[in-house]
């Protein structure tokens, strides 16, 4: 119908807000008269029902990370903006060295090329290691002597006093690892790995362990790291039945990084109890036998099925395990098992 265009804009507005009385009356009158617009209106309402809730919540405060990133960008003066942070001073130093070399050997008087007396040798590079590397070596000595607090102090100082130095990224990585592995201060470790990721991206991206730990800590941050605390207590034999506590972690966090850590601890427990278990498959089968929670069993089945697949042995066993997961009560694990089964079917 002519004039439908103006009513379509009203239709869209009416989905969200009340129109004024005059507009509303005009729209309703048009919808009664125009089947095309009536159908369009119904279709637009249907689209809204499809749109999911916007429930994404930012997992942590970015203020500190953004400040650090801005500060890092300030360390690179504009002419050297294409260099990494540590490169600007090094590049400038190299230019100065080249200039000194050319003046000494190829200067206005010709230098050596003209047969004159030999000039002084070029500037010698420093024989002692750079401060950042010294700090890393000192920290290693402290760790070897079980002086972990001293090691952390040295590493922190190395990062703070020479943030642009090439070794600062390694010092930050070592500090994050120390905080995670030895001190088990997971909230602080989370911030240290975040600093590594934001300020020393090249070091972070080259280290799979740092990437895994950051992802683990980012997941666990939302749960105040409780699952990691449970795993630590199980590892330290605080519980009468540590295996069962670890199984609870797996059941409560299916498919998460922390479930993988809990499973590794369960394997270590089983292996310690009976050293005759042999290879990883036998150990995992023993873990599977001991588990009672269906979600935990489903996860062990998934790991075990992947092991059999990767080793290309006993495909029938892998298929049976995946099928158990598909039939389990966890939709997410069932979906993963479905994909794994499909891949299995494609392999010769």
């Amino acid at each position: 119908m002519p004039g439908c265009r103006r009513y379509r804009a009203m239709m869209a507005a009416a989905l969200y807000e009340s129109l004024d009385t005059k507009e509303d009356a005009a729209l309703q009158s048009h919808l009664e008269a125009c089947p095309v617009c009536r159908k369009e209106n119904a279709a637009l309402r249907q689209v809204l029902t499809l749109l999911p809730e916007d429930d994404a919540v930012i997992p942590w405060d970015l203020t500190t990370a953004l400040r650090a990133r801005l500060a890092e960008e300030e360390l690179r003066p504009a002419p050297f903006a294409w260099l990494p942070v540590w490169g600007a001073p090094a590049f400038a130093g190299a230019c100065a060295l080249a200039l000194a070399f050319s003046l000494l050997f190829l200067g206005p008087e010709g230098g050596l090329l003209n047969g004159s007396a030999p000039a002084a040798p070029p500037l010698a590079m420093p024989a002692t290691p750079a401060p950042g590397m010294e700090a890393l070596e000192e920290a290693q000595r402290h760790i070897a002597a079980n002086q972990h607090d001293a090691a952390a102090s040295v590493l922190r100082a190395a990062v703070q006093t020479a943030p642009g130095h090439t070794a600062a990224g390694e010092a930050q990585r070592a500090l994050a690892a120390l905080t995670f592995e030895h001190f088990r201060l997971y909230e602080i470790a989370f911030h240290e790995y975040m600093k590594l990721r934001n300020q020393f991206g090249a070091v972070y991206r080259e280290d799979p362990e740092s990437i895994d730990r950051f992802e683990l800590l980012a997941e666990e941050w939302e749960n105040q790291f409780q699952a990691l605390a449970t795993i630590d207590a199980a590892r330290d034999r605080v519980y009468a039945d540590p295996f069962r506590q670890l199984e609870h972690v797996m059941a409560a966090h299916p498919g998460k990084h922390v479930a993988g850590i809990a499973l590794r601890e369960m394997q270590a427990l089983v292996r310690n109890e009976d050293v005759t278990h042999g290879d990883e498959m036998h150990v995992l089968e023993a873990v599977r036998q001991r588990c009672v929670d269906p979600v935990a069993v489903a996860q062990v089945n998934l790991y075990l099925g992947d092991l059999y697949c990767d080793a290309q042995v006993n495909k029938a066993r892998a298929r049976a395990l995946y099928q158990e997961v598909i039939d389990s009560t966890s939709p997410m694990l069932a979906e993963r098992a479905g994909h794994a089964m499909a891949r299995l079917d494609l392999t010769p």
Partner: protein, 194 residues
């Protein structure tokens, strides 16, 4: 200076005037909404966090391009949308796949919480989520800005018009076109046809 009580545009003016301390308040106030838009467009937490950081840094660096005659939030969300699309394009080039397929990329499992839904329902919910994300990226800048501000930010149409410096009628037209484009992109997901 205490910025928490200041209106959005006053905060932006302070930043525009070279007051760096206003940046912390800007991050605190907007990081959640920027992240929500980034997540809606990229579909996973890692990319959304990268886009959020890039967008807020860019807002800081390009604050001179914001005009006080327009609202600050619409400007920021437009910037976020552009950053998200650039990010998706870079991700596409790294993976050597067409942009459409990148937009349909499944989210990492860590972003999906296990629920009591059946497998079929969970798979369908994820499919719809991916299709909506792909459809949103295809909206024009004006359409996506109006749609995001109305549907997700809950801003009144008159408020959006004032922020964008246009008439309420224009906002309604952009909104209709956005919804119509979404309807076309998602038509096979529901039974109605128009």
């Amino acid at each position: 200076m205490e910025y928490a009580a200041q209106a959005d545009e006053e905060l932006a003016l302070a930043l525009k005037g070279g007051d760096d301390s206003a940046f912390d308040e800007m991050v605190r106030r907007y990081q959640g909404r920027v992240y929500a838009v980034a997540f809606r467009l990229t579909g996973n937490r890692e990319d959304a966090l990268d886009v959020t950081q890039d967008a807020l840094i860019k807002a800081y660096r390009k604050i001179d391009s914001w005009k006080p005659t327009g609202g600050f939030l619409p400007w920021l969300l437009r910037l976020t949308r552009n950053q998200a699309i650039d990010h998706i394009r870079r991700r596409t080039r790294r993976r050597h796949e067409p942009l459409d397929e990148a937009l349909q990329q499944r989210s990492e499992g860590a972003d999906i919480e296990p629920t009591a839904m059946s497998t079929e329902t969970a798979v369908r919910a994820r499919e719809i989520d991916e299709r909506v994300r792909g459809a949103l990226v295809k909206l024009s800048p004006a359409q996506s800005t109006v749609f995001l501000l109305r549907h997700y930010e809950g801003m009144a149409l008159a408020e959006i018009a004032e922020s964008l410096g246009c008439t309420v009628g224009s906002v309604k037209v952009h909104l209709f076109r956005a919804l119509k484009k979404l309807r076309v992109e998602l038509k096979d997901l529901y039974d109605g046809n128009a």
